[in-house]
Symmetry: C2
Subunit: 438 residues, 2 copies
Amino acid sequence: MVRQEQPRAQSPGGFRQTVRLFTSSSDMATEGTEIAEETEQMIDQKEPENPVSAVVDSKEMRAVVLTGFGGLNKLKVTKKPMPEPQEGEVKIRVKACGLNFLDLMVRQGNIDNPPKTPLVPGFECSGIVESVGENTKGFEIGDRVMAFVNYNAWAEVVCSPLDFVFKIPDDMTFPEAAAFSLNFVAAYMMLFEVANLREGMSVLVHSAGGGVGQAVAQLCSTVPNVTVFGTASPFKHEAIKHSVTHLFDRNLDYVPEVKKISPEGVDIVLDCLCGENTGKSLTLLKPMGTYILYGSSNMVTGETKSFFSFAKSWWQVEKVNPIKLYEENKVMAGFSLLNLLFKQGGCRQVQTAVQKLLSLYEQKKIKPVVDSLWALEEVKEAMQRIHDRGNIGKLILDVEKSPTPLMANDSTETSEAGEEEEEQEGDNDNKERMPFIQ
Amino acid sequence: MVRQEQPRAQSPGGFRQTVRLFTSSSDMATEGTEIAEETEQMIDQKEPENPVSAVVDSKEMRAVVLTGFGGLNKLKVTKKPMPEPQEGEVKIRVKACGLNFLDLMVRQGNIDNPPKTPLVPGFECSGIVESVGENTKGFEIGDRVMAFVNYNAWAEVVCSPLDFVFKIPDDMTFPEAAAFSLNFVAAYMMLFEVANLREGMSVLVHSAGGGVGQAVAQLCSTVPNVTVFGTASPFKHEAIKHSVTHLFDRNLDYVPEVKKISPEGVDIVLDCLCGENTGKSLTLLKPMGTYILYGSSNMVTGETKSFFSFAKSWWQVEKVNPIKLYEENKVMAGFSLLNLLFKQGGCRQVQTAVQKLLSLYEQKKIKPVVDSLWALEEVKEAMQRIHDRGNIGKLILDVEKSPTPLMANDSTETSEAGEEEEEQEGDNDNKERMPFIQ
């Protein structure tokens, strides 16, 4: 118990209670010191009822740490020093984090120029602004936000430059927000900025049941008369059949299946598989069609780094002659939202896309699909589930969730903090957690 | 004099006079037989005044013929049988034809799967509808039109399926129309359909003084705040400096020149050069930028087929790994309007583009730039001029023009038909014919 040592202007742990006060009393939200006093009084009152929140040391936070590249056993939940916002940064008390296939590839070290371990994985989160650094205009303590983060998302607290942080609508839940950021922005930018989706076009998307796949399907439905061809494991077909026009078994060759329905091919292929799919997809494109490579999940074949490592796959992917594109009137593109954000200074383009997407959300034209919620301590099971492609929609790490008793055999430094999970709010009430082994 | 043999429903030669009647008497235009009778009477009256029109045998027409692949000496003007429109076709009395760099490559046989010779070159023309085949709705005799043709454009008469024929505005001259079709449609589709040009973007275009280059510059000016980087021979800079933002000498390496002004690169590169430019252009692209290959003029180095034939250039062009595009967030595309039209069934997309372009023309936002007008018999000189990149805007073959006395030393079967050229109408009045050897 170190609360006495913390500066008064800094929000303490047990933020879940604090938040509720802020959101119901917005006129207080700008007055940092008073809020901190209020919060402390609240925590004191709450402490007997909710000891977990109170025991969090405000100099430390829980985080998922990848201790080295490899299998699931390289993931641990541990305590890390509490980050503080630098100039231009926003400090976020994280509520939910998105788990992506890319996180699995990071775990394996199956990416180009992997960073050094140990590291905290995770590229997106949602939560509440807890404090802001100097010169950080536009955000106030208590704001509900989502953020893109260049690693470090899977933690209780994240600090992010303000360019990567976005306020979310009042009726968007935190899991929805964490499911929204990368998947919908990627889907939007690919469909509307790279490929120029218009009325009457057709789109092929792999992993139609996944986070990007479901975002693509929803965004396609905002344009009249768009045909969506999707591939997915057969067990998902019943659940997602209404979101796409034609569904194929992902184990079959989709090229003849698509050609049976549309002999002239499709206008847009979104490929997250890579490998032989590049050539197949280019074949399947109509003239003036666009192929976009946005992932390489085919490189992942087992729990640890695949034989087809990143470097090898580079040479095994079919290279394309621009003269072939000229003769066939085709477009070949690659899209990496994380590179755009964190290596290429593409914030502004992403901000424009986010604003358009939030507008579509508020018009109720799109809604992120959350597959399941997992405690930080359950990250291994969650990752196994995405590896097995068992998810329909997005896997979310719910920072405040405790492991379900069934799963709570994971030894971490913070596992003693486990408690029964509060009931989920909003749309996630009726989400059943699906079994993680099919 | 064979007029007696011709069917009455078919318009005879001397159409220039006939047209003037049709366009001033549109209520007659649907009545084919009556018009034919009227026309014959008119010709009879006109004959003494204009013997050249009358001597044209309606069973034959003048055309430029490529007798074999090779140098300029493979081009002849000769008489060919008069084509008649099949079902769904429009017969056009040609007034003007566009001459493109591609025609030069065709002459050399420097294209993929060249057709058999002898052939009549030319892919675009403008003129007046002389008759229509069965089931050819939407066109009437006397309509002023432009057409895309799969060869055979460089002739006095062209028959084309109606999907490739477009009515032109009353105030668009025939040379303008022939300068408009391929260049503006290609520029439009590349900028707005492949590359998604929007406010604030930057575009690099080579051969900025050429037909496509000038179309690109004009279309870019219809979007706010677009920066156009162009390369051109220094002698053209004064003439075209107002059409682009920054002009570079085409003999210099444009990459450092562009980077001096825009270190982060450009959004769109339009490449008609091919070869080493693919790699250089991809380097110059901003993230989310688009490279479009739409020609390969670098393959042409001399008058006859270059050492770098099409087949060889295929292997010498740098092939691109889609993973590189993924990492760099780049788009690589190829665009061939002729393949889209004549091999890939892309009429409908082209029709949409033409309608949008004609609307821009009528709003006076775009206007084709005609470099110079040439008689059919002057095709060699015209081709030399485009080979030498001497043109600013489009080279036009004016079917009714006679060779200027200086040039009229070319022996062809129809050279005896030469007469002094009438004064050019409209915008071309003040076009000086530029010397064809710089």
